[in-house]
Amino acid sequence: MVSITINDKPYQVEESSTILKACQKAGIDIPTLCHHERVKPTTVCGLCIVEVKREKEGKEESSLATSCNSNVKEGMKIYTDSDRTKERRKKAVERLIARAPEVPILRHLAEEYNISIPAEGEGCILCGLCVNMCEEVVGQVVFRFEGKGEERHLTAESDRCIACGACATICPTGYIHMDDIKERKIVHSELLLGPKSSIYVTSMQAVPNKPVINPETCIHFRTGKCGICSQVCEREAIDYEMKEEEIEVEVGNILLAPGFHPFNPEAMAQFGYGTLPNVLTSLEFEWLNCAAGPTGGEVLLENGEKPKAVALLHCVGSRDENFHEYCSRVCCMYALKFAHLIKEKTDAEVYNFYIDLRCFGKGYEEFYKRLLKEGVRFVRGKTGEITFPIYEEEKGKLVVRCEDTLVGRIRRIPVDMAVLCCALEPPEDAEALGRLFGVSRSKDGFFMERHPKLAPVSTSTDGVFIAGAAQGPKDIPDTVAQASAAASQVMSLIMKGEVELDAAISQIIPELCSGCRICNNLCPYTAISYDPNEKLSSINPVLCKGCGTCAAACPSEAIIAQFFTEDQIVSEIEGVLI
């Protein structure tokens, strides 16, 4: 430790600390502009000037030093706002404010030292933070200084830029910033990505409530550099080398509940999702509505204003021969919920475009009646398309063209925002899951229950159960009911403790088996093994599932497929051919 005085007060400070850090630790404020603790100091702006007095050969010397890059020494006396310091700082502010008048800290200091603030300036104070950040931390080396003296200016090689935004966040004057090319305040396609940084906690109520790294956007994974998060984390919990590991578990029962996958409305170009502004999917609108969402729950257009008219389109991708014939069951009800929320949060007109309003559950119809009282407009007719304005009153709006079957006319309704209630599709990896767990899928691609009425949550494979939207589109009450049903079926199996194995399995007769081993690798359950000394193959009765494939292949008819033996089938053949 080193003992120094700051403004004539004694302090003990670590040896390697800079004057700036020592003062900050002591709670003394020193203005800085081009300083950032993650990057090498560039000592360009000069705001952090302090006066330093030291004993040298019996004489007290005073000098000015940029505190951001000078280290403390034994017996140093530091004065952070002596006249000499203020005078040098004033010159620095004058120089900087001329180039970047909008920077808050400069405007604040300008008032303090009553310096006039020019109307506009170039913005860049040549501090070089962006250069160092891009080189040291991001590792892309996009920025470079060119020219000397007056001509010294910043240049950028844009094709090396990976759009990580690190330079924009560090630029003290806001000269470098990230803009949406369409000047949108809310980019709704990013609504679902949540926070901007690559290391984030998925949501407030996330379980486990631990941050995760998104390798696609994280600079360390893209360029190998950065690593700030691991430097900052005191508990050193961040390990970039973490790889997926395979864990083997033994279970007696399996429940498949992979949920659903939302239909991507880009396939229905007529609704303009992805091309027209303010056309959102239902999940995007949910996140817009969410208090933890980007707008804190405010229903806003992309330009940040409140909508005056919102269209809710039912059956997008559902009840549609070209996409999904089935009804997704939940859209009508959450569309009504949206209508209510919009009415509650804005005074916008709300139009629901529906074919049939399916409010089948407990309290659902009453909810719909409540919506009618709140003045939501229900148009019975599937929307034909969302298109551009033609008439005067449609200027700047999205126009919803639909056939209103109750009125019997084609209508054009101008709205500011359209929410597409997209279909619920089977999960993307349903096919792989189905193959892995031996669960077949019905025509619409959802998992197939053993029996629609008598066994809705079990499958044709014993011990494998399904629940929730993966078995078919359903709302939360039904999903929870199915989950508990599946849990109870699993529990009854566990209570029983044992299960009777179907006896219709295959068996090898040793007297007939010649050890030809043709059956050995035919069994997907590895139930058949070969004993070299006995020169006989044998079937493990517990593993055998009774498919009979080995029995069909055995050239000496030594394998008996019980209950499906050769004699039984051959005699049935003779029987059915009477």
Partner: protein
């Protein structure tokens, strides 16, 4: 009256038998010539069963199973494909027309497909006429 072919159909319990059940619950109408024999997997159907069917007076044999990859026992139907392709060559040498034996994949949800497969196959066998190849015509 006109020739009505007798056809033996091997249905795998998990897919095609369930598909035929679905055709039933959906009341889809199809021709009655196929007499189903239930097996646990199409992999259980031995080529010698097909020979036996013809020897016992069948005019056609239909083997059905799960689509490749969907087999309840994961790989049963792959063996069916292997045996079927070799059996077809042997049947050809025995003078059994190609259209008399057919392998079709029908999943548990394809009731309509099962009905279509049966109708198409019966028409084809009917066109070929009776099999009666086993009359030895020794003399």
């Amino acid at each position: 009256m006109s020739f009505e072919p007798k056809i033996v159909g091997f249905l795998c319990n998990w897919c095609s038998y369930a598909g035929a059940d679905l055709a039933g619950t959906a009341r889809i109408k199809y021709l009655p010539n196929v007499r189903p024999v239930r097996v646990m997997c199409s992999g259980r159907v031995e080529p010698s069963f097909v020979m036996k069917c013809f020897a016992a007076g069948a005019d056609g044999v239909l083997i059905t199973g799960c689509h490749p990859g969907d087999c309840h026992y994961h790989e049963g139907n792959y063996k069916t494909i292997r045996r079927y392709s070799l059996l077809k060559r042997v049947l050809e040498q025995f003078g059994v027309e190609d259209d008399r034996v057919r392998l079709e994949w029908v999943s548990a949800s394809e009731g309509d497909r099962y009905a279509k497969v049966v109708d198409e196959f019966v028409k084809k066998v009917k066109a070929l006429g009776p099999f009666n190849g086993t009359k030895l015509l020794v003399k």
